[in-house]
């Protein structure tokens, strides 16, 4: 199966060469296949979020290389990275990162603005996605008027608005209730069936059943890898 993401000796060091130096990630070599669900598992502070940020092209490593579909992410310009984030990756953040002053539908649709998509088309695509996630009744609500689970559905809808090949979710179960977790699992399963690659950082074992591969992360290193046949 085709490799979609690969890293070589990837490292992220905060405050390098100072007395406050923190090696958040060190010599990470992983490979994720297209269409797989990959889970980065480990305790809090292990470096999962740092790794997932580097894989999602929203942060730059201190050293090492990351490749996306054969293209070296770490060598790309700011403009090229923006293009990758726009066209290939959909990110679901741990705290959802919705814009508080925008309604649910505007939060979902705003990534389309710089692409020159008309307001009507943006709203059509946004409402279609929100309806898919049973949020049709709450489209005009702002994030503060939504529950944690509902905010996450808006965040997932936003991640899907550009129809990306890769969905990245950082600790998706940490801010939602049990009912919402169940709904999330169904959603991930459905996205996987659509052929998308899904990378999840979590220590929630209820998501492990979905995984094709689990990378154990500890103290900024990959300490193990488990592959499953789904």
């Amino acid at each position: 199966m085709e490799t979609i993401i690969r890293t070589e000796k990837l490292a992220k060091i905060y405050n390098p060469d100072t007395s406050y130096e923190v090696k958040a990630l060190w010599d990470v070599d992983i490979e994720i296949k297209k269409g797989h669900v990959a889970i980065l598992s480990g305790p809090s502070g292990s470096g999962k979020t740092t790794l997932i940020s580097l894989l999602g092209a929203i942060d730059r490593p201190t050293r090492g290389k990351a490749f996306l579909m054969g293209e070296e992410l770490t060598a790309m310009s700011d403009v090229a990275l923006s293009k990758v984030r726009r066209e290939t990756i959909g990110f679901v953040f741990q705290s959802f990162n919705l814009i508080p002053r925008l309604s649910a539908i505007d939060n979902v649709a705003f990534p389309l603005i710089p692409m020159g998509v008309s307001v009507t088309e943006r709203h059509r695509r946004g409402s279609e996605l929100l309806k898919r996630f049973q949020m049709g009744e709450r489209m005009r609500h702002t994030p503060e008027e939504l529950s944690g689970g509902q905010q996450q559905r808006v965040a997932i809808a936003r991640a899907l608005i550009n129809n990306p090949q890769i969905i990245i979710a950082d600790e998706p179960t940490s801010n939602i209730d049990a009912e919402a977790v169940k709904y999330l699992i169904e959603t991930i399963y459905a996205l996987k069936k659509e052929g998308r690659t899904i990378i999840i950082s979590t220590h929630d074992q209820s998501l492990f059943n979905l995984a094709d591969v689990i990378f154990d992360v500890k103290d900024g290193r990959i300490t193990g890898m488990r592959e499953f046949k789904q």
């Binding site: 726009r86 953040f93 705003f110 710089p114 550009n162």
Partner: protein, 342 residues
């Protein structure tokens, strides 16, 4: 700026309706009272139509400082129109501005004491409204002799107002220079107009300088204050970048937002200043432009809204919002989104 322009317009209107030549004595380069003995000689000059000697002074009427103009009966300036009663015709009479009349509840027939211990009891024969609302507020016209007695000017006048036939101003001025025994200071209407223009330009310049200082102070203040809200903005920009926006697109959005803010702020500022001046009659602010009128202007504060100040208000608000947000937005946009969203 609107008040300043309004006052300037009214002042120039008054000048244009005034005398063609203002004659005083020249004492060390300054105006000095002119002896009445020159009056017949000046009247005889070819081209002179009328000469009006004036005594000008300021004195208290109750709690208000009033400008007193003493002129011969029948010589009220054309811009002074009696809205009630008639001009004075003999000593012991006066016409006063509607502003003062309103302040003291005076009407035609009332009498008042002017000038303290040397004062005169004057009976109001008329209330006037001048083209200039400032004039009408605190001006009192009284007979020349009464003013002379109140201010103890003897056989002197503050100045002579000389009205000449069209085209005779220069010739009359030349003849005045030749009168023996007197060193006159001759100020033509054009010269007075120039003084006004210079004065208002200076005043406008001072205001603009103060405005610029305030503007210069506002920029760092805005940078500091916008820094307080920067973390939220930074996070928002991080989200935009994480979802595929490019730095240039983020900045384009910020510029567009600022344009909208400025386009809204400038008309709003104009509307507020218009309402303040027309509705509240320049309450509190008029005193910065018109001396001694107090917090509550007793007359209609003149104001003119011109396109350049309106454009400047838009321009300055745009610059302020741009300076306050563009640099901080750029800084947030060029760092990795993960860092901006922290």
């Amino acid at each position: 700026m609107a008040i300043s322009e309004g006052v300037k317009a009214e002042s120039l209107a008054s000048v244009m309706e005034g005398a063609d030549i203002y004659l005083t004595l020249d004492q060390y380069g300054k105006n000095a009272p002119v002896p009445l003995k020159y009056l017949p000689e000046v009247k005889k000059i070819n081209g002179v139509m009328r000469v009006v000697p004036r005594v000008l002074g300021r004195t208290y009427l109750g709690d208000s400082l009033a400008v007193v103009v003493g002129i011969p009966a029948g010589e009220l300036p054309p811009s002074v129109e009696c809205v009630e009663g008639k001009p004075f015709s003999s000593r012991g009479e006066a016409v006063i501005g509607v502003g003062l009349a309103r302040h003291f509840n005076f009407t035609v027939g009332h009498a008042f004491m002017l000038g303290g211990v040397n004062g005169r009891m004057l009976k109001i024969t008329g209330l006037f409204k001048a083209d200039s609302s400032i004039w009408a507020s605190d001006l009192i016209f009284i007979p020349f002799e009464d003013a002379s007695a109140i201010f103890k000017t003897g056989d002197l006048a503050t100045d002579f107002l000389i009205y000449v036939r069209p085209g005779y101003t220069s010739a009359v001025a030349e003849t005045l220079k030749k009168i023996e025994g007197a060193s006159f200071r001759i100020q033509s209407k054009e010269l007075v107009k120039q003084y006004f223009n210079k004065g208002f330009t200076l005043k406008g310049g001072i205001f603009t300088a103060l405005y610029t200082v305030a503007f210069a102070l506002a920029i760092p203040a805005l940078l500091v204050s916008s820094g307080f809200g920067l973390s939220e903005r930074k996070r928002e920009i991080g989200i935009l970048k994480a979802t595929g926006w490019q730095t240039s697109e983020v900045l384009e959005m910020v510029v567009f937002e600022n344009l909208i803010i400025s386009l809204t702020a400038a008309p709003l500022a104009l509307l507020i200043s218009f309402l303040w001046l027309k509705g509240l009659n320049g309450l509190f602010i008029a005193q910065f432009f018109i001396a001694e009128i107090g917090l509550f202007p007793p007359f209609n504060v003149p104001a003119r809204f011109l396109p350049i100040p309106a454009f400047l208000s838009f321009f300055f608000s745009l610059i302020l919002t741009m300076v306050g947000s563009l640099y901080s937005s750029w800084r947030a946009a060029v760092i990795p989104p993960a860092e901006a969203m922290k």
